[in-house]
Symmetry: C2
Subunit: 494 residues, 2 copies
């Protein structure tokens, strides 16, 4: 409904600029209050299924409405149904950050609304992407033989990497398809991210193409087993297409031995893709660099600035040493997109499934400049220090146990009160997780390692400080104590 | 460099909230000025290849920098290298709009930074997506048997549609791949968008799988030829997998006869995907609805609110009548993403290649509410009126000719001065296009139809008014006149 004091919306044109300015200032103030008062919001939403849906009208309004009415509904109906990824008590999955400079950049990106599919459709967007990916590549210590492309998510970066691997393995597939071709094989570990499974299925290889190589007791792929699996497949006339090595697996942040795997791949002529979506940024730190050794011989590597580089969703980077193959897999230029600069400039549509692309480089540029390389390193180092502090508390408490190394900023642990079957302990840990998350102060997630239910505390939000981690730990202990008592259904002390 | 009067950036934490507030207000004022003064910017960037790249430092700064220094560089180095998609003189490709309410929503999306991969990772984001896609579906007159999913681009929506079609055609492919399977076939016309080609290649079918069915003199697929092609393939033991019908092709906005094609697909049991990425929104208009007849029997349909529905990049919608098949092609839930609400709620990761997803529904909701259904219809109607006005000017001028119908808001035309070979005329049209675009006032693009170079004027930006279209026309005539003169290299009158 148009509020009585506002003019009726004209039948053409956009929101009036003066109105935009006024409402945008209001939105900015709301955002500043939001960031200043995380305590006002439960991190994990307390919404019940269907709640938001039922609160909204079934149909679009016929007449336009005043922005203040829409914004009031946003506050009243939408915000309570959000899980607050951008608050410092967020410890689930991998913590992410919409940092200040990143949000400022996104405001400009939305207003400019440029599309960098061709160089000419925004030369600066294309060239800034090249420059800023050069910065990131150098910071991570990758050689300049790697080109880079920004995609939306690691799932899409990985899909492109594996599509390029397929192009390299059987170039005829682009034209003739896979129907008459060999059985292809992609080697992963049981800890490899499911985006690889999805990519392999999408590419037409079938889930059968995934070979899960055994891992050692720390969750790292065994290169000897990889070599044996490849040999067995070759003996059965299957065609090894790619190996995916992970630095920082999703469950436990385990590290596959990239250098040894790269040796196998080079000997065998197989595409090596390194999944460093989460942990790749730590290659900027001299004391972590060794974990990436061998990456310089990889064919491709994915790292997500929208995970642990303080850049708002979405921005994933694929570094690739064989850009010609990537272009070979994807380039296709219809007449309506031909431009006079066809040669001599880079057209980003040539390396993507997606034709349209947001101007994502701007936010990464602003984030890298605002914090600077040293500022980024200091924040990563601090997050890893916080993870070690938390791991120390776990290790010192006989009622808890840590179940994985902490090479980065994620701690895997469980509550292990004496007595009780493994299944009973699993169930206790599930209840503990629910209780802690219900507090609204923090949000942790879980995984399973060696069949057991495991809690995960993932540090990575830019405003997370030691106090937030300490609060998570005291909530865990309080709720564990309460759940240990005979009448554990009593009210939760807050 | 940190400016002398600012505090050094602390080694942890985000930009201070007070600083964020101050800088965000400054960015808002910049955006308001930008929108208020389109005349300050050439629509098509005048940057030269490498210009932006060379103006930027080769490496990331070691120390963090003050935001005002970064913003000054944005204005000085980046803005001149942008092609201004969000200004009213943009008539190239398909015109798009970052409208006021859409930009306001994007500011909130960036600051909240929520990820709606699972219901619990933001219930309201998941449910708002359902609600707002229900609104859009109803406005477009599609039956409620269609579910919807928001993706980033039409390329990705189409990829999902064709992946679902593959799942329906050979369910065993998900597990076993395509290697031992039949030759699949996908039927398109010569005007079908290249995203279909890319999807077919990516899915492992090979470009050979594309069958280009003949079109009539208006660029519409001939259903009789489609049926014949399918019969021929069946006779050769090939397996017809999908037909893509387009309502509003990219070159000339031609309309395939969806109802007749749907009849063929139903008889043959083949997946029908309707590409209405650009023109789909006009199904909201009673006088255009007939062009979509038959869509209700399609299996899937893509429409891009980021094209002609005033929503900032990126937001593409796939409507699908067989959501179970789509889920069957993509659902895959690792332990670390299992949640207690596994049943009874919708987890958007189950229908996507991409695991991470921005909170895109918010901007579509705000745009639909702010303008209202009638306001949207009025704007679409006005854009189509402007296209007819421009087409009328072309038709009335003996030196120009219109080369396609104008069913929506795109006019295809060429300068056709008497005499000269077709090739010479093509070259004149190329020069005319370059000259008009070099004015900076407007940006038009081109295509080829029946082998001839054709100019395209695409109306769709929310602030484009009759004056902008008239200016495009007078620039075209001025430059045509100038280019006709013997010494056509003389200075361009501005």
């Amino acid at each position: 409904m148009v509020s009585p004091d506002s003019d009726p919306l004209p039948a053409a044109g956009d929101m009036d600029v003066a109105e935009f300015r006024r409402e945008a200032h209001r939105v900015v103030d709301w955002i500043a209050e939001y960031l200043a008062h995380p305590e006002r919001y439960p991190v994990l939403s307390r919404a019940t299924p269907g709640g938001t849906r039922q609160a909204l009208p079934q149909g679009a309004p016929v007449q336009g409405e005043a922005f203040d009415a829409i914004f009031a509904d946003f506050e009243r109906l939408i915000v309570p149904g959000l899980t607050h990824w951008n608050l410092p008590g967020f410890f689930a999955y991998f913590a992410t950050s919409g940092s200040g400079p990143g949000v400022l950049a996104e405001m400009l990106t939305a207003a400019l609304n440029v599309q960098a599919m061709l160089w000419r459709t925004s030369p600066a967007a294309t060239e800034l992407e090249e420059v800023v990916l050069g910065w990131l590549r150098d910071l991570m210590g990758l050689p300049s033989s790697f080109g880079g492309v920004i995609y939306d998510t690691a799932s899409i970066s990985t899909l492109h990497a594996l599509a390029a691997a397929r192009e390299a393995a059987i170039p005829a597939a682009r034209q003739h398809g896979l129907a008459a071709g060999p059985q292809l094989r992609v080697y992963v570990s049981e800890h490899t991210h499911t985006s690889i499974d999805k990519a392999v299925i999408l590419l037409g290889l079938g889930a059968d193409a995934l070979v899960r190589v055994a891992v050692d007791e720390r969750g790292a792929m065994r290169p000897g087993d990889l070599a044996a699996a490849i040999a067995a497949d070759r003996a059965s006339s299957r065609l090894p297409m790619a190996v995916v090595a992970t630095v920082g697996t999703t469950s436990s942040t385990a590290v596959d031995p990239v250098a040894e795997i790269a040796g196998v791949c080079l000997r065998e002529g197989i595409w090596l893709h390194v999944d460093a979506a989460y942990a790749g940024v730590t290659a900027m730190l001299p004391e972590r660099r060794h974990l990436f050794e061998g990456s310089e011989r990889a064919d491709s590597l994915v790292v997500n600035p929208h995970k642990w580089l303080f850049t708002p969703f979405d921005l994933s980077v694929l570094f690739c040493r064989r850009m010609d193959v990537l272009r070979g897999a994807f380039s296709l230029v219809p007449e309506y997109l031909r431009s006079t600069e066809q040669t001599g400039v880079r057209n980003l549509m040539d390396t993507g499934v997606q034709l349209g692309r947001r101007f994502r480089a701007l936010k990464l540029w602003m984030v890298l400049r605002y914090f600077g390389a040293d500022g980024i390193r200091a924040r990563l180092t601090e997050h890893m220090r916080l993870a070690r502090v938390f791991a120390g508390w776990i290790d010192a408490d006989p009622l808890f146990e840590r179940v994985a190394d902490v090479p980065f900023s994620v701690v895997c642990f469980r509550w292990a009160p004496p007595g009780g079957s493994p299944e009973a302990q699993d169930s206790l840990n599930e209840r503990l997780l629910e209780a802690v998350n219900a507090s609204g102060e923090v949000f942790l997630s879980h995984t399973r390692l060696n069949g057991r239910f495991v809690l995960r505390l993932a540090i990575g939000h830019i405003r997370t400080a030691e106090g937030h981690v300490a609060r998570a730990w005291s909530l865990l202990r309080e709720h564990a104590r309460r759940l240990s008592q005979p009448s554990s259904t009593s009210a939760i002390p807050s």
